[in-house]
């Protein structure tokens, strides 16, 4: 055992403390993806290092043992499914590597590597997230890392490192702003390094997908209506994917959706056209959302004949687009799959279809009957209805409880069996109005699925989930929203422990945060080369492109350098000057007036001796001052406890205006004391 440990040089408590602060700050945002045992290990490791540093004796395992430990952690992570390929999936490993540096903080290089790994973790965090709070937190973390780096090169206590590090960060902020604004935004597509976007809709729908999304209240889109009024709640169906193909359990997008060559002419120009400015979080999928139905697609986006919007590649960052929809317009595409049926069908479904179409062929009547059937047969809404392996039939005839995806898929299936073309549409419904910024925030728990039924004039929307009562004990978001008088009001998302009087302000503050975040994301995080062009003179930008930006960037750095040099050359403020030196300088001035001038290279001891000889009347006081000064300057610190006061008194004892003596030549008085 003793051979597997070696004694390591302590790094100093203050240094390790600052490094731990930086490491903790860099690690905290990833806490939710770290397994609990790893978190516990990190806490133990950090505490151990701090305690041993405090005691001044650090015993660390030898290199092979350290490597073995890291290997074991990596294997454990792999075995517990906490490790994957790609940047974010490998983060737990980066974190363990970083903290394992605590076991081998020996040389200067180890400390540096730990700091660089912290920088790296901050960057990984911001690859995915860019909310204002995250960015501010990241900047604070960068500050902590800077302080840790400063402390490494300084043996002068924690306070000095903190001041220097924060000064570097704060003084750098103007330049940072300039670099951020001016740095050319390159547009290169590397192979995907595996960013971790929250998964949205895939090209298919099984009811579980919606349930999973409905558990998250993270924002998915932010919508502004530049032309003014927000549509009413029952118009807010954000259409995303159209699913036409089913095998009974899963509904999928028909391959090769045909697209319009150019935007279609409106069939009903009198209907209201509405422009939506949307910023959409990345979801690992190619579909964009718009109110039904989209008419003018955004740039680089295709408008399908079924009025869906899709891009060639899934956006990797927040995508801002502007889309025009015409409210009330119908998609009129001919969907060949509108009547496609799964190969196996429960006979009860067929008999239900017979019941719906009894005595009529009109699709509208059949669809209305279906909607009424759900309400009449005691169906309830529940986000956790349990598994339904048998698909639609089990839902329709056994469970009779479920959420939108169950209703939509079952409804479309029965209609198809009844001979009415029907399909499933997924997207979002409604949203939360932000009263501060007058925009609509759509969250993942607004995810919704509904149906479209083909009449002679086009596809009509039918939402079988509407009007279904919540199951007992359910607090499904959709139910919660539907209960209030204003369906677009912010849902109460306050934690359960919060007292009632605080809930109102809490919601209000959240609205403000969401508003500031919206401004931050659209103006600051939304900066791209087009915006840079607008800011820095379109003409020059178009002509010189990024070279203009690089020129401005160099200019900004030059300005900072010149300003700094100018600031440094100014006379320094007297604040912060050593009080002992200041007192002694006063005292030297007094003696200089009496004709005894201290030579620049003359030590205090020699000066005292010389002055005492030159001014015999004051010799006692001069010796007292000299002795005190020497103690304060060169003595042990404990000797200087009240030394400053004593020095001040001793200097006061020397008269301000000493009788002038004839100047004494330095050389004549020079001699060894003693």
């Amino acid at each position: 055992m003793s051979q597997s440990l070696i004694t390591s040089e302590p790094h100093g408590f203050a240094r390790v403390l600052w490094l731990l602060v930086a490491m903790t700050m860099a690690t905290l945002p990833f806490l939710d993806i770290l397994p609990p045992w790893l978190t516990l290990a990190l806490i133990v490791l950090g505490t151990w290092r701090l305690v041993t540093e405090h005691r001044g004796l650090v015993v660390v395992p030898i290199l092979p043992v350290r490597l073995l430990l890291v290997l074991i952690v990596a294997l454990l992570l792999l075995a517990t499914g906490n490790l994957g390929f790609g940047l974010t999936a490998a983060t737990p490993l980066f974190v363990s590597l970083l903290w394992s540096k605590l076991l081998e903080l020996k040389a200067r290089r180890d400390f540096l590597v730990a700091c660089l790994l912290c920088y790296f973790l901050v960057a990984v965090l911001l690859f995915d997230q860019q909310s204002l709070l995250t960015c501010l937190y990241a900047i604070a973390t960068l500050g902590a890392i800077t302080i840790a780096l400063v402390s490494y090169h300084l043996d002068h206590g924690a306070g000095r490192s903190f001041r220097m590090g924060s000064r570097l960060l704060l003084q750098g902020l103007p330049l940072a702003a300039a670099i951020f604004v001016l740095f050319p935004r390159l547009q290169v597509n590397f192979p995907n390094l595996g960013g971790q976007a929250v998964s949205g809709f895939a090209n298919s729908l099984t009811p579980g997908d919606v349930a999973r999304m409905a558990l998250s209240d993270a924002p998915v889109m932010r919508v502004e209506f530049p032309d003014g009024d927000m549509p009413t709640a029952d118009q807010l169906y954000w259409r995303g994917l159209v699913l036409s193909q089913t095998d009974g359990a899963t509904w999928t997008v028909a391959q090769e959706t045909l697209a319009y060559e150019s935007a279609p002419a409106p069939r009903n120009p009198e209907y209201r056209a509405i422009v939506q400015d949307i910023s959409l979080q990345p979801q690992n999928q190619r579909w964009l959302f718009a109110l039904e139905v989209a008419e003018q697609p955004p740039e680089k986006t295709r408008l399908g004949l079924n009025r869906t919007l899709y891009r060639r590649q899934a956006p990797v960052q927040v995508l801002r687009y502007s889309v025009t929809s015409r409210l009330g317009e119908l998609p009129i595409d001919v969907d060949e799959l509108g009547l496609q049926l799964p190969t196996q069908l429960d006979p009860r479904v067929a008999s239900l279809a017979q019941e719906w179409r009894a005595g009529t062929n009109a699709p509208q009547v059949i669809a209305e009957r279906g909607m009424a059937w759900f309400k009449a047969n005691g169906f309830t809404y529940s986000l956790s209805p349990g598994t339904m392996d048998a698909g639609a039939a089990e839902f329709l005839f056994d469970k009779r409880t479920g959420f939108c995806a169950h209703y939509a898929t079952a409804y479309a299936l029965v209609l198809r069996v009844a001979g009415v073309p029907a399909r499933v549409v997924v997207g979002f419904r409604e949203g939360e109005r932000n009263d501060v910024g007058d925009f609509l925030l759509v969250r993942y728990d607004h995810a919704h699925a509904w149906c479209e039924v083909r009449f002679a004039d086009g596809w009509h929307r039918f939402d079988p989930t509407r009007g279904i009562p919540a199951a007992p004990g359910e607090t499904a978001p959709a139910t919660r929203r539907a209960g209030g008088a204003d369906p677009l009001a912010s849902a109460d998302r306050s934690p359960s422990w919060m007292p009632a009087w605080l809930r109102g302000p809490y919601t209000r503050v959240n609205q403000w945060l969401a508003f500031v975040d919206a401004k931050w994301e659209s103006n600051i995080m939304g900066l791209d080369s087009a915006k840079q062009g607008e800011w820095f003179g379109m003409a020059g930008f178009q002509r010189f492109g990024n070279w203009l930006l690089i020129g401005l960037l160099v200019g900004a750095v030059g300005t900072v350098v010149v300003a700094f040099v100018w600031w440094s050359r100014r006379r320094p403020t007297r604040r912060g000057v050593d009080p002992v030196a200041e007192l002694y300088a006063q005292y030297c001035q007094r003696l200089a007036r009496a004709g005894v001038v201290r030579h620049p290279s003359e030590g205090p001891r020699d000066f005292t001796a010389r002055a005492a000889v030159a001014l015999p009347a004051l010799a006692e006081g001069i010796r007292a001052v000299g002795e005190l000064y020497e103690q304060l300057r060169y003595g042990r610190p404990e000797a200087a406890a009240d030394g400053l006061q004593r020095l001040r008194r001793a200097i006061r004892a020397v008269p301000r205006h000493v009788p002038v003596q004839p100047p004494v030549e330095r050389s004549s008085a020079a001699g060894r004391p003693g």
Binding site: Y119, V150, H153, A176, F190, L527, V561, F564, H599
Partner: protein, 315 residues
């Protein structure tokens, strides 16, 4: 950090060589840490481009601006520091040379300075953790021993990587330290008075004689002659002086011995000078082309030893 203006006949005051601006920025060199940081930043840039993440550009901007500020602060930390060469003391060949450097802070705080001699490979730097404004301190660079003669050090280097360790800023003095390096004292050859028992260098065994008295320590003098017991009692650094009784006169003559190797010959003469001085005799030195009359005392010994140190054999 004992400061003294006392003129010592044996010392060489190099302040005469000092230039008005004793220290100038000579070089700025990025450290390895800067290279590693640049690599990390490059990686972040690749990520920012790939994910089109403005937040990652923000990290890039903040870190690189912090780095730029640290470069400026590194420059500011050393700008205006003055290095002033101090005195030197003669040593015997093989003994370490000590070069005093006075560091004046000037108008602001100085942090984490290191002073070393760039001419000497692998010389350890002397660190100064903090120097308050208008303060100064004197440090000693200890250089490996050299051969006899006049030895010089023409550069001392002040460097610091404060605050972030990304840029090493270096100042160098343009002044010169000069030492007289005596030959290493050596026993042997013809002892002028025949008592060869105490031929070895007084410096080595000087504390075997009678205690003669104390004199104040001058930086650069051999540490082993410091009266450490007195230091432990809280007294200043004092040097022990020893002497042996006797007033005999003697001549130390080049022609007393026939030694083929000039250096060994000089060493032997040197040993005799030291022994004679320690025994308190009056002695003179005869070298080819130079004669030093009888005398004794520290100054006289220096004159003799310097003559040996600078002796050049005529072909």
């Amino acid at each position: 950090m004992v400061e003294s203006t006392t003129q010592q006949p044996l010392t060489h005051d190099n302040a005469a060589h000092r230039t008005p601006h004793a220290a100038r920025i000579k070089r700025l060199r990025p450290t390895n840490a800067a290279v590693y940081l640049a690599m990390v930043l490059l990686f972040v840039l690749l990520g920012a481009v790939n994910y089109q993440s403005n937040a990652a550009y923000l990290v890039l901007a903040v870190v690189s601006s912090t780095a730029v500020m640290s470069l400026l602060h590194a420059w500011r930390n050393l700008n205006g520091v003055r290095l002033i060469p101090g005195r030197t003391f003669p040593v015997f060949a093989g003994e370490p040379l000590r070069a005093q450097v006075r560091v004046e802070a000037g108008e602001r705080d100085r942090w984490a300075l290191v002073i070393d001699a760039p001419e000497i490979p692998d010389s350890d730097g002397v660190p100064i953790e903090h120097l308050p404004p208008d303060d100064s301190t004197t440090i000693e660079l200890v250089l490996p021993g050299r051969r006899r003669g006049r030895q010089t050090l023409t550069r001392a280097r002040l460097s610091s990587v404060h605050p972030l360790g990304l840029l090493a800023v270096m100042h160098e003095t343009e002044a010169t330290w000069s030492w007289v390096v005596y030959p290493a004292p050596l026993a042997g050859g013809q002892d002028p008075d025949g008592d060869g028992d105490d031929h070895l260098a007084g410096v080595r065994r000087s504390n075997t004689g009678d205690f003669h008295g104390h004199r104040p320590y001058q930086p650069g003098e051999p540490h082993r002659r410091i009266d450490w017991r007195a230091v432990a009692r809280g007294r200043p650094l004092l040097l022990k002086d020893y002497t042996l009784g006797g007033t005999a006169e003697c001549w130390i003559d080049w022609t007393d011995d026939v030694i083929a190797d000039v250096e060994i010959h000089l060493s032997v003469l040197c040993g005799r000078v030291v022994a004679a001085e320690r025994q308190g005799r009056r002695y003179g030195l005869r070298l080819p082309g130079r004669t030093i009359e009888l005398g004794h005392g520290v100054d006289h010994q220096h004159i003799c030893l310097e003559a040996l140190a600078l002796f050049e054999a005529t072909p």
